[in-house]
Symmetry: C2
Subunit: 462 residues, 2 copies
């Protein structure tokens, strides 16, 4: 860690930046070196002291190129940051250096039928609003849509709202293009198309600096926020699966929250009767009649229903998607600071039995939160349970138990690309691409831990 | 059969009709007593001599009610007909009586966001054109879209184009409402909503006279017709499955046609190189780049690509959907009168081996045609193979062989609701509903063969 830090040469860097805005005020360095890693007590302990040496704030791509060239020449770590809403410390510099905040690059490039291209620093909600003006909408967004940048989602995320219909971001057609700047003394610009776009997806900014991305748009739908409740969780899981698999009902989101989880979520708790298990979902308003039939067939009741867009655009309201994905944990943390979470992949055909086993083994310590999404041609079920934090050993025992019953873990208490994946590795094509665009390994060093700089460059980052 | 026929009393019927248009010209009786049952040599032999005694042509619902009341009072069979493009003899009267042609009821009721309501006799292409004016489109249509009425599709069909994304018509949300006239001396009007609409779906007009239906609409997409070809059928099947399961590519149609099938289809043969297996498909034009990646990854090539709407609206052109579903057989029959077909359900995970077994057992006698569709939460694979006709015994051996390798048969060489289904039965709720709306069993008698009129009414149709 120290080897790189000691190299930070402020006068040289400031000279190289020219008129690019920057700051090294301690409050700024602290603020911009953090993201939502504090969801995890493990990451908090590991990352809380990490600090950038300088925050750079490019206004356009020329500024980005200037910063990249300077870092390459001065051999400085470069961490690219959006709004800092990631949960894995994606935006936290492990070895100091420069954090580059991309929110100044927030221009729309163009909208066509079925596609949109914009700079990475635009807020997702703003980008979606631009698409809606043209009768279109984004397929995917995170529960932090109102805060996050599209580039941060792209570089740090894998799916989220929309994945119940369109699968993850890496499914063919979900990412159309990316403009990538290399970290070299003379940076190059690379346009990635189609499946190659996956080379820079969810690599925490370690495989190139993305300045523009191109995403698919779908025709806009009148989404309806709905909260459906059930007297027991298996009914909620069965209804959730039926809705997630209903090809005749347009659906954007299907989640399941156990009653103890709901009890920790203050703004949700007031919308549903106490003690009920809740399915937050978003469906096309034209399909509410079909939804009501499905709810009745599963013994549920609709406790809340609202126009999704109205809820999203009113800062005083909470749209249903803000009760799901990462926001479930966020709300719970506001009620109880000893909460954390865990990501897992249930077997959808054995999910009720798997969850019953978890409940029996960890009563009151693991609280149900599930998300449905499409994966490998089918609807799959992710567990994003809340965990009552006690010790790292207890957390490990929850993970071990999940794996013992066939639920794979994607550990959110780690800060590397590899350890957070179910496969515990970075794809070979991403590693090869990193060697091409970041030969000295300066981009977010330590995050793609299996990367080894090409021979001849290794000493530079030693 | 004769018991009912002898009862036909023309003066009484004509008097009852009042000013409702009707005909008993022999050419009309022949024409309007037929549909596309001649796809099947078995049905041709069985149905070719069947004739209505009178064709009634209602102009509006009041006419329909008058005809229904007259048939109820005079105890006459009543067969409801759209454009007559069904393949099962749906529109053929087994016991004479009245055929009621619904094409005069062709009014749009309304279009809203996500839904459309119209009288049953409107052509599907015309209905879709009305929806498109409002930026919306129908989810499903048959390959006979340019000929068929929406009511005929609804009463005689189960899915078709669109089912690869939205599943069959009976999936929740795919049929929203139906207005049903009962066959009683004083007919009643019943509005069916939601899942109850299934009571009159694919019952060949035997469970009530439908005068209006309400269907879901999706936001319109710029569909692109595409023909992709492969050097061998397993590559075509694998590509077809990958596309059918690609949640990031909007797709309306994915079919597979073996090279020998293509060779029989004159207008298709000129568009692709000889000897290639072909995947006709429709995808959103904005997703062509993702499609090209997928085609390349499977070793295929794109031989034809065109705007779907332009092809559909030009009478001189053949849109890609007219190479699929029933039209595959139709084109082949134009080249070779000894062709018929067979419907089956392959196991998508064993489809290559199943097809290899069929090929080995019936070389040159069974020609590959597959359709992908969504069923029970997954993409499924239907075989709609062409069969070189020789004898009923040979056809039976093809069916038996399919069942022996685990491919269920939905026999299209029968004229009853039950025998054409994989389960060989009519659902109990449809039978109960028929007893309520058609207590004397006058609607398309003989088609729902397991129906027994309620006690007290049985002698009337004996």
């Amino acid at each position: 860690m120290s080897a790189v830090l000691t190299r930070f040469d402020k006068p040289a860097m400031v000279a190289a930046l020219g008129d690019v805005p920057w700051s090294d005020a301690p409050a700024q360095l602290k603020l911009k070196s953090r993201d939502f890693y504090w969801f995890s007590p493990v990451l908090t302990e590991k990352l809380d002291a990490c600090r950038a040496d300088l925050i750079a704030m490019p206004r356009d791509e020329a500024d980005v190129i200037r910063i990249a060239a300077a870092c390459a020449r001065l051999r400085l770590p470069l961490v690219v940051r959006g709004a800092g809403t990631g949960n894995y410390g994606q935006a936290t510099p492990l070895f100091g250096g420069v954090v580059m905040e991309m929110t100044g690059l927030n221009r729309l490039r163009w909208i066509e039928s079925g596609r949109i291209r914009a700079q990475v620093g635009i807020r997702i909600a703003a980008l979606d609003a631009l698409a809606r003006k043209e009768g279109q909408e984004l397929r995917h967004y995170p529960s932090t849509k109102r805060l996050s940048t599209i580039g941060g989602f792209f570089a740090g995320g894998s799916g989220g709202v929309g994945a119940v219909t369109h699968g993850g971001l890496r499914e063919p057609g979900n990412l159309l293009g990316a403009r990538v700047i290399t970290v070299e003394e003379t940076p190059r610009i690379i346009e990635l198309r189609g499946q190659d776009t996956g080379l820079v997806n969810r690599t925490f900014g370690s495989t190139g600096i993305v300045t523009e991305i191109e995403m698919p748009l779908d025709p806009v739908r009148p989404w309806q926020d709905v909260l459906v409740s059930f007297p027991e969780i298996n009914a909620a899981l069965r209804f959730g699966r039926a809705l997630a698999e209903a090809p005749g009902i347009a659906r954007k989101l299907v989640s399941v929250l156990g009653a103890p989880t709901v009890a920790l979520m203050t703004p949700l708790r007031v919308l549903v009767p106490a003690g009920r298990d809740v399915v937050p979902c978003m469906v096309d308003a034209a399909h509410m009649e079909a939804l009501r039939d499905l709810v009745a067939a599963h013994g549920g009741q609709i406790d809340h229903s609202a126009d999704s867009l109205e809820a999203e655009t009113d800062p005083a309201r909470t749209p249903v998607f803000e009760f799901t994905y990462g926001h479930t944990t966020l709300h719970a943390l506001k009620s109880d600071k000893a909460i954390t979470y865990l990501q897992s992949l249930y077997d959808i055909d054995r999910a009720e039995a798997q969850w019953a086993a978890v409940q029996a083994r960890f009563p009151d310590q693991v609280l149900a939160h599930f998300e449905f999404f499409v994966w490998e041609g089918r609807v799959a079920l992710s567990g994003v349970h809340l965990i009552r934090w006690s010790t790292p050993g207890h957390l490990q025992s929850v993970m071990d138990f999940h794996e013992s019953i066939g639920a794979a873990i994607a550990n959110p208490h780690v800060s590397t690309v590899e350890d957070g994946s179910r496969y515990k590795l970075a794809p070979g094509d991403q590693l090869r691409f990193k060697a091409e665009v970041d030969p000295r390994g300066l981009l977010n060093p330590g995050k793609m831990r299996s990367f080894v700089p090409p021979a001849g460059n290794q000493k530079d980052v030693a």
